[in-house]
């Protein structure tokens, strides 16, 4: 067994941490958040220059050929800085999906552009309940709900029910006729969009059958889930460290509040959650590409349960132990709180995965 990272991996993490510390301060992030698009193309270009946009791409397409472990290290570093740019959507999930479903031509056209930051591609998968997206005669109609970073995409990868009742994957250009994007900020300061398609022109990407396409989408989202778990751990690391510091410095009743045993125990519980979450984020990274679908999903559900619970516990108690200060927009702490809240709800919440784990365990 070996829990060490290689020197290469450490160097990568270091690079990204330094980028966040120097070029993504909390003040800078606030300015980006409050700007009109809510993300920064300049930062995106910076990430391209660092090479991290190419992390997951095959070397044939200008990529670095790394995998989920390296992605996890990068996501953890971004987590602490609360990156607003669409890294998870556009540099992790979309390339993983394109590699699995699209033709060689499409891959050659788009993957290098993703690696250089020239193009942003985002998967739009979850349908709005009342208006699932369907395909008729090559065009798409319906609504996709709360698509993370949908608004900044040049190209959308849209799943849709085909005329034959199967799931297909389609490429839709954001600016095309019949594509109406409603872009808005989310609780965590990031952006999402509802996408209304009215007979929008689309290009079918998958050649596969219904099952193969759905599985490819699932596989890409599973890679995304592992990356999300790593992001959560990065945020929780920062949150626990900041709260520990606060308990050492905040004085009440003539002593640091960290002297109160009630708070020491709460902090200890936060640490337990954090370490359990870290363990599960490693498992998630190692298993998210497991070709055995049932085993993979069972493991990822276990990870999301542990991490979702840790997100809740650590976020709530970090605010609680900061007292009124924890409630302020001024401290980054409340922003970590909100991102952890959003992460708990993303790609299936804790209860969803708890039940899925139970189901898959029974079947196994």
């Amino acid at each position: 067994m070996d829990f060490e990272f290689t020197e290469d991996q450490r160097a990568l993490e270091d690079t990204v941490r330094r980028f966040v510390a120097r070029d993504y301060t909390f003040e800078k992030r606030r300015a980006i958040r409050d700007s009109d698009p809510g993300w920064s193309r300049e930062v995106w270009q910076g990430l391209a220059d660092l090479g991290v946009l190419a992390l997951n791409l095959d070397e044939d397409y200008g990529g670095l050929g790394y995998g989920p472990q390296e992605t996890g290290l990068v996501m953890g570093a971004f987590g602490a800085g609360l990156l607003l740019e669409p890294y998870l959507a556009a540099a992790v999930i979309a390339p993983a999906l394109i590699r699995r479903v699209a033709s060689a031509n499409f891959q050659e056209e788009w993957l290098p552009a993703i690696a250089t930051g020239a193009a942003i591609v985002v998967l739009a998968h979850a349908d709005a309940r009342q208006a699932p997206v369907t395909e008729i005669g090559g065009n798409l109609s319906g609504r996709k709900a709360v698509v993370a970073h949908g608004g900044c995409a040049d190209l959308l990868l849209v799943s849709a029910r085909t005329a034959r009742g199967e799931t297909g994957l389609f490429a839709v250009t954001s600016g095309a006729e019949g594509v109406h994007l409603r872009d808005y900020p989310t609780l965590d300061g990031q952006r999402a969009a509802d996408i209304v398609l009215s007979n929008a022109p689309a290009m079918r990407l998958d050649a596969g059958t219904h099952d193969a396409t759905l599985e490819a989408i699932e596989a890409a989202l599973d890679i995304g889930l592992a990356a999300l778990c790593a992001e959560a751990v990065g945020i929780m690391d920062a949150t626990v460290a900041a709260t520990t510091d606060y308990l050492k410095t905040r004085q009440q009743f003539g002593q640091p509040i960290g002297r109160f045993q009630a708070l020491q125990h709460r902090m200890a519980d936060m640490l337990l959650h954090l370490e359990q979450a870290r363990s599960m984020s490693y498992i998630a990274a190692l298993h998210c590409t497991d070709p055995n679908r049932a085993a993979r999903r069972r493991t990822l559900s276990a990870a999301k349960v542990t991490i979702g619970q840790a997100c809740r516990f650590i976020a709530q108690n970090a605010v609680q132990l900061h007292g009124g200060m924890g409630m302020t927009d001024e401290l980054i702490l409340s922003h970590w709180f909100k991102r952890l809240t959003a992460i708990e709800m993303t790609f299936g919440d804790t209860d969803f995965h708890l039940q899925r784990f139970a189901r898959l365990s029974r079947a196994a």
Binding site: P185, D194, V319, Q320
Partner: protein
Amino acid sequence: MDLNFTLEESAFRAEVRNFVGEKLPAHIRDKVMNGVHLNRDDHILWQRILHQRGWGGPGWPREFGGPGWTPAEQYIFEEECAAAGAPRLISFGLKMIAPVLMAFGTPQQQQRFLPKIMAGEEWWCQGYSEPGAGSDLASVKTRAVRNGDFYVVNGQKTWTTLGQYADWIFCLVRTDPAAKKQNGISFLLIDMKSPGVTVRPIITLDGAHEVNEVWLEDVKVPAANLIGEENRGWTYAKFLLGHERTNIAGIGIAKRELARLKRIAAAEGRLDDPLFAARVAQVEIDLMALEITNLRVLAAESAAGREKKAPGPEASILKIKGTEIQQAITELMMQAVGAYALPFKQADIGPDYAANLGTGYCNLRKLSIFGGSNEIQKNIISQMILGL
């Protein structure tokens, strides 16, 4: 033992229900029912409607113009108001400073301030906390120096809820820096329009402006605005804190919000999920138990009489459980709608009922922090009830 309300109490409940049903403006009810922030005018309008009916000071005795209700009647009143979607009464005037004025104020102070509180003509805020004095309230540093007929006040208060609307602030100030912590504190009433008072907003994590910093720079306060005796402010402060905790359980509000949770969950089809349904059930059961606990505390208080006695440490039980329940409900509402809880301050993205759930969850984290944090309440329980 009889867990039912008396016939008179039930008749009273019907009377309140009718009144609120008839008089509560629909636009206010809709906001409350959907978790939308109320503005100053909403609160004042409702206070004035109550006042016209003679219910402007629901907890007040007759001698001060109140209806003289028993604790059980007050409880019923608040429960009915909450259920119908009436605004929560702004407690700083009605439930905090008013009882202090009644117990320790001079007749002049009582006549000057109480009627305007009841009529919704003056808005009060609470100037207790300071940057260095939160849980450890007795370490307040804001300094007041007597100079003839005035005090000159310098310092900073913080977390002042709705201070931006306030006409008056009641403050804990230090008048004797040499005395032991609790002994050098006085209780002053300060006109927010006084020169030297500056209110600065604090934006909270939900993006709301609910709390403020209040800076006091050479503020001249007439000595006539001192409550009771100089340097005895801590006694009055603690008396007030006890009142702050009555009805802190928020049973009526929790019931209303539980009903909202069930409506949302039903609309989302979430009650068919047995795990989710069980989570809702757990909250409902906790609330059921807390309601009886609350009524027991109330009955014990009534039996002990209502003279100058502040509610006892049992109020801490109500505060902890009540706030935990309200917070749990906000979590489940968010969970029920899933992704559509995430759009931030967007009215028209997901279903209408989803619009304020994310910010509502964030906002109610405050419940376990203010009014004496839940950790401090547990200290009170272990020390005062258990004698540990």
